[in-house]
Amino acid sequence: MKLAITGLVLGAIIGFGAARAIVPPAPTCTAAEPPDLSAITAALARIDARIGGLERAPAAATAPAIAAPLVAPAPHDSEATARQIASRPPSEWQTLIRESVKDDPDLLAAMIAMANRKEIDHSALAAALHGIPADQE
């Protein structure tokens, strides 16, 4: 009987030891090391650098990047375009005017001003503008 009890106790002790040897002990909070946050810290630092760089950048450095798309395109030199068209044969005026006016609505007034000053033939211009034949003479 004593032998049986001793065997059970020894078996329990050996079995418990074997179980501990197989299953690693559960981690405990107190024993844990501080987490390695260096990667996160580095990433945040990079983001901060980018944001800070934008926020702290001198106005002169950021202004062109922001203002450039908002700057209105240079105004058309309607007078120069009008003179270019006027230098072409009147038979081409209608086509040239109708194409150019898509980008420069002030072109017509510029050409009309030339005609009103008699720098170009008014009848020819009116024919081009109104799409009617030139004078019958």
Binding site: K102, L108, A115
Partner: protein, 148 residues
């Protein structure tokens, strides 16, 4: 003697008929109403500052003896390169010796030009840059209708 009397009566009746015909013509209601003929060719007035004033009746410009006179406006609508649709009005006038035009993108000028009809009277002004500064349209009964 009787023949002479008959001829005399016929002669009197002929004269009476002619007189009645003339009177009826002057009494005809077709000639009633106030009428303004105005100058035939469009008037082109040039100012020292380079501006112009042009006026004329469509019907009169149409029947001038010369082959140059006309007056009127065109209205355009076109798609600009930036994708927006623009409208503009062009008004021109020409007589035998002189002419001028103006243009505008102002909606008020475009609306005024759209009120023109085939028998209108038109007056417009252009500044030295060729831009319309005034546009007047009159559609009135005293103006003659356009003829071929």
């Amino acid at each position: 003697m009787r023949q002479t009397g008959a001829i005399s009566v016929i002669g009197v009746m002929k004269k009476l008929s002619l007189a009645l015909l003339l009177v009826s013509q002057f009494m005809s209601p077709a000639f009633a109403g106030y009428k303004v003929d105005g100058p035939m060719a469009p008037n082109v007035y040039r100012r020292a500052d380079g501006s112009l004033a042009i006026s004329g009746l469509f019907a009169n410009a149409r029947i001038t003896a010369d082959t140059r006179s006309y007056v009127g406006c065109s209205v355009w609508a076109f798609l600009q390169s930036n994708g927006t649709v623009s409208q503009l009005v062009l008004c021109s006038g020409q007589n035998a010796t002189d002419g001028g035009s103006c243009s505008s993108t102002n909606p008020a000028f475009i609306a005024t030009a759209n009120s023109l009809n085939g028998d209108s009277y038109i007056a417009f002004e252009a500044n030295s840059s060729g831009v319309c500064t005034s546009l007047s349209v009159q559609n009135q009964s005293q103006f003659r209708p356009k003829t071929l």
